[in-house]
């Protein structure tokens, strides 16, 4: 039975260089999440702060952000699973409320990737894998996903054009999202002619680093009904972790962490893939969205490209996916991304999406992946 709800969800504008401090950036998302709720900072019983610490100058940012938002002396702590940190934060918030420890919990994700220089960012990029066994070969996150893309191509005949069509779709929706970093429609030709970063992935197959924040306010059911007219119920949660090493992966044609997390979330929610009305999936690269179609059961293994070929994942298709532009358009401020995806689904289920509203959406899904498929969270929400 669903008895924990999301009462508010917000995000900042995502951009290449926000020009403000992380506390001010976090305030932007907090403000949007709290607006319209019948509570103040005093009513928040705990806060969970999410980011990837290697991009932060501030040590232990939980204390800093909880002070700025006047959430002290209530408990505040830090949660990290790289790119999926804030959906892990949501899972922890749900548990705290469900356990009866707290009534209202704020999950605040942020990343100011412009805080460090591009040289420092390149240094961080080199340490994303197992630093003894795989990073010394020059593994990067795009390279890891490129190996998934190549394996998918070899097994199923997926082409570079199939991948590019994912970006065509997401750039179409990103163009109308006022919070997105990139608001320009891209043609198939633009994408296919962009330079190769790590074969077969090209520049426009990849999302970009960004600055941004997100905030999700979670409440116990009875409290949720009191403080908002439109609670969005958390009905399914799944989480899984795969190996740090590429050499430990069972297969490179799907993400095991997403498959496992998806199964758990569907089971808990008592729904099937075909019951999902709208989904946000972690399209850090174009191939990632194709893998997500298959890992979540929207298509059978190897048949994910059919969904994009037939435009079934557009807003008026059978299974709308990333109709806010996805990470590919919004940009990917690591710790903020999961919360931004949750915000999009909350808005869709409330019928408040301004970019592309999926008519009558009742059940939505969020798929948020950390690293090169090391961490996977799947969350199912219902209005």
């Amino acid at each position: 039975m669903a008895d924990v709800a999301i009462v508010g969800a917000g995000q900042s504008v995502f951009s290449r260089d926000c020009g403000v401090s992380i506390r001010e950036l976090s305030f932007e998302a907090f403000k949007e999440a709290m607006e319209g709720l019948d509570i103040t900072s005093n009513d928040i019983d705990a806060s969970i702060i999410c980011s990837a610490p290697e991009y932060d100058k501030q040590r232990s940012p939980a204390g800093l952000i909880s002070e700025y938002l006047e959430l002290t002396p209530k408990p505040s702590f830090y949660v990290e699973t790289v790119c999926s940190s804030s959906s892990t934060g949501l899972r922890v918030a749900w548990s705290l409320v469900k356990a009866g420890l707290h009534r209202v919990v704020a999950v605040i994700g942020f990343q100011k990737m412009s805080e460090i220089s591009s040289r420092e960012a390149a240094e961080r990029m080199g340490r994303g894998g197992d630093i003894i066994w795989e990073s010394p070969f020059g593994l990067t996150m795009p390279a890891g996903y490129a190996m998934y893309a190549r394996a998918h191509m070899a097994k199923y005949g997926t082409t570079e054009e199939h991948l590019a069509k994912v970006r065509v779709k997401n750039s179409h929706y990103g163009a109308t999202n006022p919070k997105a970093t990139y608001r320009k429609e891209l043609s198939l030709e633009d994408i296919l002619s962009s330079e190769v970063i790590t074969s077969p992935l090209k520049k426009f197959d990849c999302c970009a680093n960004a600055d941004g924040s997100s905030c999700v306010i979670v409440a116990r059911g009875d409290v949720a009904k009191r403080i908002t007219k439109a609670p969005i119920w958390i009905i399914g949660l799944g989480a899984a972790t795969d190996t740090m090493t590429m050499s430990g992966r069972e297969s490179l044609t799907g993400l095991r962490c997403a498959q496992e997390a998806g199964k758990q979330a569907y089971k808990m929610a008592g729904v099937k893939p075909q019951d999902i009305d709208v989904a946000e999936v972690h399209d850090c690269f174009t191939i990632s969205e194709i893998l997500a179609y298959e890992d979540l059961g929207f298509a059978k293994p190897g048949e994910g490209v059919g969904l994009i070929e037939e435009k079934q994942t557009y807003a008026d298709g059978k299974m709308p996916v990333n109709v806010d532009g996805g990470l590919l358009s919004k940009g990917h401020p690591i710790g903020a991304t999961g919360g931004s995806q949750i915000r999009t689904i909350v808005r869709q289920l409330r019928g408040e999406a301004t970019e592309a509203q999926v008519k009558g959406a009742e059940i939505g899904l969020v798929h948020n992946i950390g690293g090169i498929g090391q961490y996977g969270n799947v969350t199912i929400l219902r209005r």
């Binding site: 340490r127 010394p136 020059g138 390279a143 790590t198 590429m246």
Partner: protein
């Protein structure tokens, strides 16, 4: 000898599994096998989480594997700027998988997923060492 000379850039040195480096210098790519329960590991583990023993044997990875996937990296991270382009690959061997580079004498156009591979140590500039795949 620790991992200080392993790969193009090493990030840490100390580990219990540094015998790996001694074998690598001697021309062998090795994996570990738990003496108590027989579980084998690559990357090598000095400890066995299944039976909690830390008594392991080293064995050489021999024979042919198959290329599971690869990518040609045009932009390397810090320390790899002058190294790119290079080809990263995953090879499937008997019971284990290995992540390494493809030998520089293999061109991207000649690569096919599924092709036969062998793994062997490779000397790198500045007295560094790694292992790589060659056509098998």
């Amino acid at each position: 000898m620790g991992f200080e000379n392993f790969g193009t850039v090493s990030f840490t040195t100390e580990a219990k599994a540094t015998d790996f480096m001694t074998y690598l210098e001697a021309g062998k790519v090795m994996a570990t096998r738990c003496k108590k329960c027989g579980a084998s590991y690559f990357p090598p583990k000095a400890d066995c989480p299944r039976c909690l023993s830390s008594d392991v044997d080293w064995f050489e990875i021999k024979g042919k594997g198959k290329l599971a996937s690869y990518t040609l990296v045009n932009y390397g991270p810090t320390g790899f700027e002058n190294d790119a382009p290079y080809i990263l690959a995953l090879g499937k061997f008997d019971g284990i998988q290995i992540f390494a580079r493809l030998s520089r004498d293999i061109e991207e156009k000649d690569i096919q997923v599924g092709m036969s591979l062998v793994v062997s140590p490779v000397k790198l500039p500045d007295n560094r060492i790694a292992y790589e795949f060659k056509k098998g």
